[in-house]
Symmetry: C2
């Protein structure tokens, strides 16, 4: 981003299904202040904007007011960069097409851009994290779902309609697991945190060996339980990560054939399961990638600090907003 | 491309495993002259360059000499745009890394750029064909193999190493058909002309119904035979196209999740099998694409004239070459 002495700060905001987190960030990626509200408590989007601003306006004033803010970046599920709208996001309370960037821009007097959360993470990684200096990389976010942000020639890929980069919904298994999107076999049904829990339940039924996971009621198993069991040497839990990593690594090998990125960067809770998942991902990726790409694409972990990552990622977009 | 009164022409050259075709092209995409040599007859690459130049130099002189040529574009298998080299191309007689762009540039005195043949086709389509005015599209070439050229934000996607866009080697079937690349289940083992012939042989063994294709010795079946039989109402032949189109359409649905292109443009013999293949492709693509993309991405046929397409595609790159 360009250093800007007159406007030294940006605002970052991440809209999640549960929480909306926002904060003030400086050009070095320090989150100077942050706060949050509950997203679901505001069924009317105007009320929601007011609830955010009730906390955000005083925060901005504390740093010198809107004239000190270069821009605001918003990351949101189904966020469209071109239109600044959120469109039919299944986990948010507002239906239809919501012109959220324009609403905040008008209310705050700060130029505002919006994109989906995984794209925001990719821009954050390029600005402050593991992708600094890279022009070609793919960000994969492994959370409740699987998201992605693709950077080619130093630019985020938005596609002709603003919705490019939904790699969590690449179909990796014909007639595979049913996905929340209504289709079958999407990557996210296997390689998200919920996908790992699903694999655990399947393995526990299909196999009869003892496992620490049998102490957890099947319906309540979470990917964290699988990790805890794997650390304790539980073979079945380790095999779950092996299976998950293999699925993801194969998918990554296909993604490489598309854009031949310098790196694939993994972000989110699952990526922190260490070698249990990283080794099988790396192996499956290298084993399955076309010869000309072998050994070329780095598999990296996000370098954004956990607590700040959502705000940081979105804020990075704030440096690029054009005043309208 | 920029109209250039002082340098009104470009040279296009397509290097295939069998023939090398080259010609002079004007800014409207007219191929003003063209000729060819046999690629395989020249095992020494220096001799090969001389053999091309023996025909190409007089051709260039006919149009006013090198000073009238804006640039030369070369399309070649495994061609790398960044380095101007051909690297380990399995179907070409020269082994290792061949600095072909530099060799022609020195010999002809014309700035030369090189890329792989499918990328050249994409640039040609953007300059003269169905993708005029488009900033986001994917070109799929259906020939002996399956190639691709991806355009995002108006730029060809080369990736960090110059080798992006090998969609023919995306794995569409786990443990599927063995591919020439040494891996299994690549798109090209199903959806190329040779893939169609392979499907025909499989179907003829697996099914017992009568078919016109049973009149052709199994080893000699070509995709053209399948087309001819399909036109005559042969159910088995039509089912082969159905199977092929379904495989390709599913793959295209995944590609859309990557770059959300305005159009996917099909090029090559197989694409000319009309509704027999286009309908199943279109249906599988729409049935399998994520909701947010439905009905948005056009499926188009190349508009480059057949005889000229290879030279035209490569020549389009000639308008973009920078003088070194």
């Amino acid at each position: 981003m360009a250093e800007n002495i007159e406007k030294p700060y940006v605002v970052g905001m991440d809209i999640g299904g549960t929480n909306t987190v926002f904060g003030i960030v400086d050009s070095r990626g320090n989150v100077l202040a942050s706060d949050s509200i509950k997203t679901q408590q505001h069924e009317d989007v105007n009320e929601y904007v007011e609830a955010v601003c009730a906390k955000l306006v005083p925060m901005i004033e504390q740093f010198g007011g809107p004239s000190k803010i270069k821009g605001m970046g918003v990351g949101a599920p189904n966020g469209n960069y071109y239109s600044g709208t959120i469109e039919f996001a299944p986990n948010l309370p507002w239906k239809g097409v919501i012109p959220l960037a324009a609403m905040f821009e008008e209310r705050l007097g700060v130029p505002t851009a919006l994109t989906n959360d995984a794209n925001a993470a990719a821009i954050g990684e390029m600005t402050y994290g593991a992708a600094r200096g890279m022009k070609d990389f793919i960000m994969i976010t492994l959370g409740t779902g699987v998201g992605s942000g693709i950077v080619i020639n130093g630019q985020l890929v938005y596609g002709h309609d603003g919705f490019a980069g939904e790699l969590g919904h690449v179909m990796v298994e014909k007639d595979g697991r049913i996905c929340g999107c209504g289709r079958k076999g999407c990557l996210e049904t296997y390689c998200s945190a919920t996908g790992v829990a699903r694999t655990a339940r399947e393995f526990l039924v299909a196999r009869s060996e003892p496992s620490l996971l049998r102490n957890v009621p099947a319906e309540e198993i979470q990917s964290k339980d699988v990790y805890d069991a794997a650390v304790k040497g539980d073979k079945l839990a380790q095999d779950i990560f092996q299976f998950t990593g293999d699925m993801l690594g194969r998918a990554l090998a296909n993604f490489i054939a598309f854009s031949s990125p310098e790196a694939i960067i993994l972000f989110g809770g699952l990526a922190k399961s260490g070698d249990y998942i990283m080794k099988p991902i790396q192996k499956a990726m290298e084993d399955n990638v076309l010869n000309i790409y072998k050994g070329k694409t780095k598999l990296l972990l996000s370098q954004l600090k956990d607590a700040d990552a959502a705000v940081l990622g979105a804020s990075a977009l704030g440096w690029e907003v054009k005043e309208s």
